[in-house]
């Protein structure tokens, strides 16, 4: 389990980085390396060129810019998880990051890397879809933004071009007083999710749903966004919530050797009900209701 040889590139500026990617054939970028290096050790990935994002200045950092939270791609998951800013404006990310692997992985793994890798069982893309987050893709050709919801094209495949770098994740902020929750079913403690659900909810003064967003991971190659319009105006509990869970059950799902599609749909329904209820309770608490 030793990686194949590669040429190592350690650009220090964005311009150097973009130029390298434009010029090199068969290049892979390494961010935290927590998914890529195992694949290289198994020789499932053997790029000729490895371009290190860790040496590039200015790719990390967390800031609130207007109504958006901007997280530099190279921000370590652990740093985002412990960031007071993130905790204040986007508690969903804190809860979600707490479920990403174990601490030793989060210490090295990056926010951008997890989304760029786009593992169907990964937690962060699910929260990102629920949040309507966008990725910023940059190259010598310029910059573009793309919703994370549109980013995945197939299993472990995204819309990123070979010369592009995912430089940041931009998260539109929800109003103060919203409630959020994340949960997943794993086969053991911190291991990969089978199905995961992220939800954000804003309640009106009567405790009814004013705005709701739910994303479900693990059913197919990319997180699915749940149609939630029927919930608007209803309290996030009881029959309305049960009906929402049935909507989750109706989402398309790919079965695999361990779990049939209908059982994954069952988990999606179960978690949707629980996570939306929890998000609603949190919203009620934070609005003092």
């Amino acid at each position: 389990m030793k990686a194949a040889n590669f040429a190592y590139h350690a650009p220090t500026t964005r311009q150097e980085l973009f130029a390298l990617l434009a010029e090199l054939d068969d290049a892979r970028m390494i961010a935290g390396g927590q998914s890529l290096v195992p694949m290289m050790n198994f020789r499932l990935a053997a790029p000729e060129n490895l371009v290190d994002l860790n040496t590039v200045g200015g790719l990390d950092g967390i800031e609130v810019a207007g109504d958006r939270l901007v997280i530099g791609a190279m921000t370590r998951q652990r740093a985002a998880e412990r960031s007071a800013t993130v905790a204040r404006v986007c508690p969903l990310l804190v809860e979600t990051l707490g479920r990403v692997g174990v601490q030793q992985i989060r210490n090295r793994g990056t926010v951008g890397g997890s989304i760029a890798h786009f593992d169907p069982t990964a937690e962060l893309p699910v929260a990102a879809v629920a949040l309507d987050a966008e990725v910023v893709l940059e190259s010598l050709r310029g910059a573009r933004r793309m919703p994370v919801a549109d980013f995945g094209s197939d299993y472990l495949t995204t819309e990123i071009e070979p010369d592009e770098v995912l430089t940041a994740v931009e998260v539109p902020l929800w109003p103060e007083g919203h409630g959020a929750a994340f949960d997943e079913v794993t086969r053991r403690g911190d291991s990969y999710a089978i199905v995961s659900v992220a939800a954000l909810v804003l309640l009106d003064a009567a405790g009814r749903v004013a705005r709701l967003s739910v994303a479900i991971g693990g059913l197919t190659h990319a997180p699915a966004r749940l149609a939630v319009d029927a919930m608007v105006g209803a309290a996030p509990e009881g029959e309305a919530l049960a009906a929402l869970a049935e909507t989750a059950r109706a989402l398309p799902a790919d079965g695999d050797g361990l779990m049939a599609a209908e059982d994954k749909q069952h988990l999606a329904a179960t978690l949707t009900e629980r996570v939306v209820r929890r998000a609603g309770e949190r919203a009620r608490r934070s609005t003092g209701g």
């Binding site: 079913v185 361990l258 059982d263 988990l267």
Partner: protein
């Protein structure tokens, strides 16, 4: 033997002598060894589950800079005395032995079978070269599910074997037909059990060096059985005993697989001899999944006959065992399952038909527990089923079937796998269960369950009893030697992989000789130090090596006392051994150092030894157990199960365990708790899966899940001590027993938690995937 006659050194939690180096990172494990000129090895392994090798072209690989040699079967065969490695254990039950080749000759029979060996300046380069070897393999149909493999039209798992049914054997006694005739309770059940690999965190590994001056081979081997490895190297390489030394460095866990001699161990030694250069192979985790022996699947189909009061009348059925592609361990694994099924219960009649099917997967051999958890699982599930059918409490149905203490020693009616009578030697099974239920507050559970239900949580409780045959022979040997320096040296063929074997032996020796255990040097498993040895298997080393060391140290003590008695002119009974001195009881100034006695017994040229003394302050002893000694225990567990997600959380775990006398109680607890957690892994997480073509699917620790600290409960261990009369220490084995009841007790608790849904647990492991499906099926059936 009574507890009052506790031998010296027994019952004390002496701090482990192994720890200081290990916590400092100063242990010396296999991959820590480096030698001048060392070559690094990698294997090219079969990508096919079954196939015929048409050609192997190594030219491009050998041309890669940094590559020293690429070896195939025909390159190594000239060094060997025979085509195959004679690893098979003597077993009358096998129809034919299927011994492995050092490297595949023409047929590959599982993914991971070694085909070529690359020697290079680094492991990295060796793996680069492996990618350049061109192997042309004609795929052949593979046998993956052993039930399919036994069908009349099944493909052959191996073309060099007559058929896939490598053994058909049975475990039977009593009048089974009479037991079933007009039995008031009769039912049938099927079970699919899985148990996984050893998964020592240090994989296997070998460093070999051939010394051309001495014509001698030294092999550092991360093994549980250095002496057997040596014997096989002597035999296959055509060397003499003097020419081979096998020595285990610090070994990072064993758990069974390191007891089996694998082809790589010979390949590396042969390569060192061939090239004249030292060679290292450190198995990586992927290799460990595809090339190291493991336990795997068993399919049981059982019929039960019982009386109306829940007493067992008879069990009969079939067991189909997935044996893998070779037969390195006879029928031991399924036979252990069959015999351990009996447990501490009276079973009047038994007839189990056992079929071992060759499959195109890694061979199966014992991992910790060695087939016994499966047998115990079957019996305990059956008892739960009887209880359910008769509306009896699960503890009561067991109580009615337990062997009463006054019936011990108890002849079960079965033979052990070496042909002896399977006789339980000592214990009190009913008292053990009683204590476990009390410790776990079994009677208070309904209240806890009701409280949990009010909060919407599903709680269940389970219990399971078991026995385990431990301390298997034929023998272990030991010597104790004190030189004029005063250093006490113990040698033995036994060897540890974390159990604390060194501490245990030093503790016994030190107690006999009045010397601090830390001052006793134990050389365990070095074939140069001990001509004979059998090593670590069958929870045996405290029983066998412990007894041998106890006997040898006692002889040395007697020698010391005899000489001192003569020198000091006092009776031996009036002497005591303290801190390296022998002195008059109550008058420590009247005495001599043991080193002085050792010096005297070492002799001076031309001078006579002390009167009547034999040369050397040294003694050797062998211990041959007359029979297997049976430890036993009861486990009680509580589980919270989420019926919607299938997630199981164990909330309480109590063990009452009886392994006779405890030599080092804290180390025994460590063995039990470690075993329980391994067993919890078998119950809930570990599952080595293959696709329909025999490709392994779970070769990472993200796919093959071991129990982690956050998902296991605190394990509460209580002891009973029923000394065995079968050895001078009164001890029984403890290394594996923790694993044995865990799958059964977790299944009992999970099923109990899901009783409102009517979910029946018959298969292992109980993953969320399975439990969600079972809950869905139960809903559909309701």
């Amino acid at each position: 033997m009574t507890l009052a006659e506790r031998p010296a050194g027994v019952g004390i939690s002496v701090p482990r002598l192994e720890d200081d180096a290990l916590v400092r990172g100063k242990g010396r494990f296999l991959d820590d060894i480096t030698l001048p000129g060392l070559l690094h090895a990698a294997f090219l392994r079969s990508p096919e589950a079954h196939g015929h090798i048409r050609s192997i072209d190594v030219a491009e690989a050998e041309a890669l800079p940094g590559v020293h040699r690429v070896l195939r079967y025909e390159d190594l065969r000239p060094l060997l005395t025979m085509d195959r490695i004679p690893v098979a254990m003597p077993s009358g039950a096998l129809k034919f032995d299927v011994d492995p080749f050092v490297l595949a000759r023409d047929e590959v029979c599982h993914v991971g079978e070694p085909i070529a060996l690359i020697l290079a300046e680094s492991r990295h380069v060796a793996e680069d070269a492996a990618e350049l070897i061109m192997v042309d393999i004609d795929p052949l149909p593979a046998v993956v599910d052993p039930r399919d493999g036994l069908a009349p039209d099944a493909p052959q798992a191996r073309l060099d074997c007559p058929d896939n049914l490598v053994a058909r054997t049975s475990a039977a006694y009593g009048d089974i037909d009479a037991a079933f005739a007009d039995a008031p309770v009769r039912f049938a059940e099927r079970f699919h059990l899985h148990k996984g690999g050893g998964n020592s965190i240090e994989p296997r590994g070998v460093v070999a060096r051939w010394d051309p001056m001495e014509e001698r081979l030294t092999v550092w081997n991360s093994t549980q059985m250095p002496h057997r490895a040596k014997r096989l190297l002597v035999t296959t390489l055509g060397l003499t005993e003097r020419q081979v030394r096998v020595v285990p460095p610090d070994v990072g866990g064993g758990f069974g697989p390191k007891f089996v001699f694998h082809p790589e161990e010979l390949a590396i030694a042969a390569a060192a001899k061939l090239t004249g250069l030292p060679v290292k192979w450190a198995e990586d985790r992927y290799e460990s999944f595809i090339a190291t022996v493991q336990e795997r699947d068993q399919f049981w189909s059982m019929e039960v006959a019982a009386d109306a009061d829940g007493r067992l009348r008879g069990l009969r059925g079939t067991l189909v065992h997935d044996h893998g592609a070779y037969t390195p361990y006879g029928v031991a694994l399924p036979y252990n399952s069959a015999t351990n099924l009996l447990g501490p219960y009276v079973l009047p009649a038994y007839a189990l038909d056992i079929s071992l099917c060759l499959t195109n997967k890694v061979p199966t051999t014992p991992t910790r527990g060695a087939g016994r958890p499966q047998g115990t699982f079957i019996m305990e599930r059956i008892l739960d089923l009887i209880a359910e059918r008769l509306g009896l409490a699960r503890d009561e149905v067991r109580r009615r079937n337990l062997i009463a203490a006054e019936r011990l020693p108890f002849r079960t009616g079965l033979k052990t796998r070496d042909g002896g009578e399977m006789t339980y030697d000592s214990g009190d099974y009913a008292e053990c269960q009683r204590r476990a239920l009390a410790a776990a507050d079994w009677n208070g559970f309904p209240e806890r369950r009701a409280a949990a239900r009010r909060e919407g949580r599903f709680l269940g409780i389970g219990l399971a009893n078991y026995v385990e045959g431990t301390g298997r022979g034929p023998f272990e040997s030991a010597s104790v030697t004190i030189g004029p320096s005063g250093e006490v040296v113990v040698t033995t063929g036994a060897c540890g992989q974390g159990q604390g074997t060194v501490t245990m032996l030093a503790q016994l020796t030190g107690a006999a000789l009045g010397i601090a255990p830390a001052k006793v040097r134990v050389i365990a498993g070095d074939t140069d130090a001990s001509p004979l040895g059998l090593g670590a298997f069958a929870s045996r080393q405290a029983v066998t090596a412990g007894s041998a060391v106890h006997l040898a140290a006692g002889k040395v003590r007697d020698k010391i006392l005899a000489v001192a008695s003569d020198w000091l002119e006092v009776a031996a009974e009036d002497l005591e051994l303290i801190d390296g001195r022998v002195s008059l009881r109550g008058a420590p100034e009247v005495g001599r150092s043991i080193a002085d006695i050792a010096a005297a017994l070492s002799g001076s040229p031309g001078f006579s030894l002390p009167k009547g003394a034999e040369p050397g302050l040294s003694a050797a002893a062998d211990f041959q157990p007359d029979a297997i000694t049976y430890c036993n225990g009861t486990h009680v567990a509580e589980a919270e199960v989420d019926p919607f997600t299938g997630v199981v959380r164990l909330t309480r775990y109590v063990v009452v365990h009886d392994c006779g006398r405890l030599i080092n109680p804290r180390m025994v607890d460590g063995q039990i708790i470690g075993g329980v957690v391994h067993g919890i892994g078998s119950a809930l997480y570990e599952w080595m899966r293959y696709d329909a073509t025999g490709q392994p699917l779970t070769c990472t620790y993200s796919d093959y899940l071991l129990a982690t600290a956050d998902v296991v409960p605190r394990v509460e261990v209580h002891h009973m001590e029923s000394p065995t009369p079968l050895n001078p220490l009164g001890v029984k084995g403890a290394g594996e027993s923790g694993t044995i009841a865990a799958p059964a007790v977790v299944a009992s608790a999970v099923e109990d938690a899901l009783r409102p849904l009517g979910v029946a647990i018959r298969d292992l492991p109980m993953t969320p995937d399975r439990l969600v499906r079972l809950a869905r099926q139960a809903r559909a059936a309701a």
